[in-house]
Symmetry: C2
Subunit: 215 residues, 2 copies
Amino acid sequence: MKQTVDMGKASGTTTRRPGRPVGGQLEVGREQVLDAAERVIAREGAGASIDAVAHEAGVTKPIVYDRVGGRADLADALAERLSDRMVSASAAAIATEPGLTRESLTRFIQASLEVVGRNRNLFLYVTGGTTDQTALGRLKLAERSTTPMTSVLAQWRTGQGQDPDVAQAWAFGIVGMLQMVSLWWLTQDERPADVVAAQIADLLWHGLPGAIPGP
Amino acid sequence: MKQTVDMGKASGTTTRRPGRPVGGQLEVGREQVLDAAERVIAREGAGASIDAVAHEAGVTKPIVYDRVGGRADLADALAERLSDRMVSASAAAIATEPGLTRESLTRFIQASLEVVGRNRNLFLYVTGGTTDQTALGRLKLAERSTTPMTSVLAQWRTGQGQDPDVAQAWAFGIVGMLQMVSLWWLTQDERPADVVAAQIADLLWHGLPGAIPGP
DNA sequence: GAAGGAAAGTTACCAACAGTAAGTAATCTG
DNA sequence: CAGATTACTTACTGTTGGTAACTTTCCTTC
């Protein structure tokens, strides 16, 4: 890498030249930069640098900073994408029937796992460390996933006259459970997603004493 | 910082000199370096550098590398310390009675939360990002916490003639839930740990339909 | 008791990377 | 055609993880 292409002129024929947009040509906007970041991360792993992202997008570093901000903002934006993907896949998995059953919960979890499996490196990039204040960044990612879950849970609780205050804690707990299980599952090849999903659904559905009799 | 003290001689009077250990004097071993790392992190936050750790320990950087290895190893070692602290606090909280009840589960979770609260920055350092492969490092931390939990769960499952294979997935799930809830709780001041612990215990004990009636 | 070796550390360095300032080429406006 | 504006690039700074090479002391052996 690094190429050492520093001499000002060079670049043979038609150089990409500064100035106003060429006209109706392809511009490199925020979305293109994020797409490029996803490609680099998918290809080269979670350790991708801003330079690598810029190169993949066909631009230089300051453009990346202009379009998406610093590294924390990049991670945020990608986290947003990934959690949107997870939320919509999970929502689709339980949309076939009203209410929640053990089976639809299993599908919900399995869908979430499969999105992680399809976005392995992106998941590692987003949940893993990038900047110094990553932990709180991860919380932000989680927050996006929890928002719809929280409102559903709160609605249910309110519907039965119970304190809806638990909804937020539960949502964060469930998201954390899913994240950790996903991470663990990624390292366990040969362990089918549907089996793990069913196991976790069992726990969330029946609770601990549902399977473990007390003293 | 940086001091710019580069001139070879200097240093006035009694310089710390290399060579064999001075005798019965204090040596700087692995534990001292880890202690120093904890102090720096507690004082200055999760963004502490290796240099800062070395300085706090009164040694230079290569010593840190000799004693604990690189940054990933440092995070590992600190994760080990923190999870040991959490495991023993949690174990103590449920040791007062045999078997598991909703009340002892609540105390278990609360103890875990309180350890996190007492080691705020260390928790953020360990669960947050440091190196590029942090996500897998976090898995290792989790693994240490899950090991005792897995064996307990597996024992229970086996005792009732059920597949103990779920134990590992459940343990990772529960640890992930606790980590995320802890992280969220850290940002919510004025929310008492015992309340949150009771809420999470409710979820883990009764399961979702225990509180949310089906369609 | 001097010569050789092994410890134990320090200094000084390198490479990589996040982030930014200053310069430059095209386009638009008058 | 002059000047402002836009949009981008080059080239830099500062920090930090990690390491190589040198130095000093102590212990051993002849």
